[in-house]
Symmetry: D2
Subunit: 185 residues, 4 copies
C-alpha cells in the first residue's frame, strides 16, 4: 500500500533550503510513501469574516490536505517560532470550527536551519498546535537539522551519507506511524 | 512625557474582540501612554526574496513600529499559538537581518479569548519570539483574558469594573517598564 | 485484554487534588485499563554521579514504569511549568542514557489546577519532554482541568456528571491509543 | 556600586560542566558584578504540606536568594526541559504564595550542553517560569552554549577567546539590566 503524504514547506522563497530538503526527502522516501508538496504560497490570510464564503485558495488547500493520508512539515525557524506564512496555512486548514482538514492525519516535523540549533523553537511551537489539531506526531527520531544550507547539492542530492541515512530513518519511522493510524481517526 | 505605544492586534476580522479590547485599553490608559493601533491588515507575506526591493506595505509597517516608543500586543490564540497573521507581522518587522524595527522596544502582551484559558498558548509563544527580538517585556501582572467576548459593551466600555481595574493596573505597570527603558536600547 | 497504566501524580502533598483526581479516574476507567499510582514521593534527586551505583529508589521506580503498558500523567502547574518533583521523576526514569524506562510507552496528560487555566503551561512543557522520551501521546481530547479543587467530593466521586463524562471520554480515547501501540515500541 | 548575583546552577553532579561554567563566569564578570553560587544541592523537595513549618534548607535558600540583587541561571537541559533539581529550587524559592524570594530580581539565563543545540528547550521553559516569578530577564544576547564540555580547561579558564568574549559581553549586558532595575521591584 502507498500512502500520500502532503509535504508542507514553511518558507515561500524560491531557493528555500526547506523546499530543497522537501524535494530531496521525496527522492529517498521508502516505497510506501509518496511525498508531494502541498503549496502554501497561493494562500491568503485567514480571516474569520470570510468563513461563510471562503476564497478559492482556502477551499483548494483544505481539499488538498484532506486528500492526503499524512502530513510532513519541513520548516525553518523565524524569530524562534514557526514562520507566519506556515502558521497561516495551519490556521486556514483548521477552519471552520469542526471541519479541520488536519484532523487525525499522522504527521512528522523536520525543522531545518543554517545555524547549529536546527529550528528547535519552530519545531516545538508547531508541535503545540498539533495537539489541538489532533494529529498523531512522530516523536523519535527528532529532526533538528542544522547547517541545512550545505546539505543538498545543486543536483538535489544529499552532500553526505550520514545526513541522508538519518533522514531516511526518520521517513521509515514515519511510515510505521502512518501504518499504525491508517484508516482511522 | 508622553510615550507613543503601537498596539498590534493579532486578528484582522472586523468585529475582532481583540480589536475592541485594544480600543477600550486606549481609553483607559494612563496619561503618559498614547495607544494607537498599528494596522497589520495591509501586510503581505514575508518572503526573503523581496528583501532587496521590499513592498511598500513592509516599508510602511517597519517605519510605523520604529516611530513608536513601545509596543502592546493584543492577541487571540489560534490553534494553541500566535495567529499566522500576527506572526507574519512580526516576521516582516524583524527583517532584513540587523535592521529589526522591534529591537529594544519595551512591550507587553495581552492575550484574549472567549474561552477560560485566555490565550495562554499564544501569549507564551509570542514571548519566545520577543527574546530573539530583544524586546524588554512586562512580566507581571500577566494578562490571560478569558471570556473576552463579554468584556466590552457596544459603546466600547468595559462591562465590569474588576476587569477594567485589572487592565488599568497592567497599563500602569507597562508605563513604569517603558520609563525604565526610555531613550535606551 | 487489560492494560496496566502507571499513573504518575505531579504533587506529593497528602491532600493533593491531583492525587484525588488520579484515584477518581481509576474508578471510572474503561474495563480495559487498570490504573494504579506509581509513587514518586520515595524518589531522591537525579544526579549523574550515581548512575554507576543507583539508589534503590531509582531502581524500583524504573522497574515500576517498565512493568507498565502505558503512563498517565496527572499534574498541577507550579510557576507555569511542571513541578520540580515530577520533572525529577521523569529525569530519574529516563536514565542512564539508552535505558529509559519511558521509551515507547503510550501516554496521556491531564493537568489540574484550582484556577481557570487548568495547568496549560505544565501540560505543554511536559509534552515537550515526551518527544525526547519517545512516548506516543494522546492529542485529543486535551485535558486542562480548571476548578480542580471542587471536582471530587469527600467520597472520591465526581461532583458533576459533565466533568466525569468528559474525563471518561478521555480515558476511552487513551485506551484506543494504547491498543494501537500495544506490543510495539 | 557592586551587585551581588546569586548563581543558580541546574546540575548537582560534582564535575558538572554548568558548575565549571558558573565559576569561569565569576572570574570574567565585570567589576560591578559579584557572582557567587547559591547551592541547590541541600534542598529537599517542595511540598505544600510543610509550608507552615518549612525545613531549614528551604528557609536558608530563600534567605540566600532574597539577599541577592540579581540571579544568574546556568543550566543543562534534561529531556528537553529544565532539570527537575533546578525546577524544584525554583518552586521552593517561590513559596509560600505571596512571599516569593525571586520577586522582582533581574536575571539572565545561560544554558549549556555538550551537544549543538545548547539547551534551547531548558532555556525557554525556564523563561516561561520567570514571567510568573516577575523577574526582568536579559533578552539579548541569548546564550545557548553548545559544546559546553570543551569550553573550560582544567584550570577553569576558557579554552577559546571567542566564547570567553561572547560570555563577557552577556555579563556586561546583564550588568546594564541590573542597573536599570536596581532599588526597584
Amino acid at each position: 500500500m502507498t500512502y500520500n503524504v502532503a509535504v508542507v514547506v514553511g518558507s515561500i522563497r524560491k531557493d528555500s533550503i526547506n523546499r530543497k530538503m522537501a524535494l530531496a526527502l521525496a527522492a529517498i522516501a521508502p516505497a510506501s510513501l509518496k511525498l508531494e508538496i502541498a503549496e502554501i504560497k497561493p494562500l491568503s490570510f485567514y480571516n474569520q469574516d470570510l468563513d461563510a464564503a471562503p476564497p478559492q485558495d482556502w477551499v483548494d488547500f483544505r481539499a488538498r490536505i484532506k486528500s492526503a493520508d499524512a502530513v510532513l512539515f519541513v520548516t525553518p525557524e523565524y524569530n524562534r517560532s514557526v514562520p507566519g506564512v506556515l502558521k497561516n496555512a495551519i490556521d486556514v486548514g483548521s477552519r471552520p470550527y469542526g471541519q479541520s482538514a488536519w484532523d487525525g492525519k499522522p504527521c512528522a516535523v523536520i525543522s531545518v536551519s543554517p545555524g547549529a540549533m536546527g529550528g528547535f523553537g519552530a519545531n516545538h511551537h508547531l508541535r503545540q498546535s498539533l495537539v489541538f489539531l489532533n494529529m498523531p506526531v512522530l516523536q523519535q527520531p527528532e529532526a533538528y537539522i542544522g547547517g541545512g544550507d550545505k546539505l543538498i547539492d545543486e543536483a538535489g542530492k544529499f552532500t553526505n551519507d550520514k545526513s541522508r541515512d538519518f533522514l531516511q530513518k526518520i521517513l521509515q519511522s514515519f511510515a510505521t506511524l502512518i501504518e499504525k493510524h491508517a484508516g482511522q481517526k
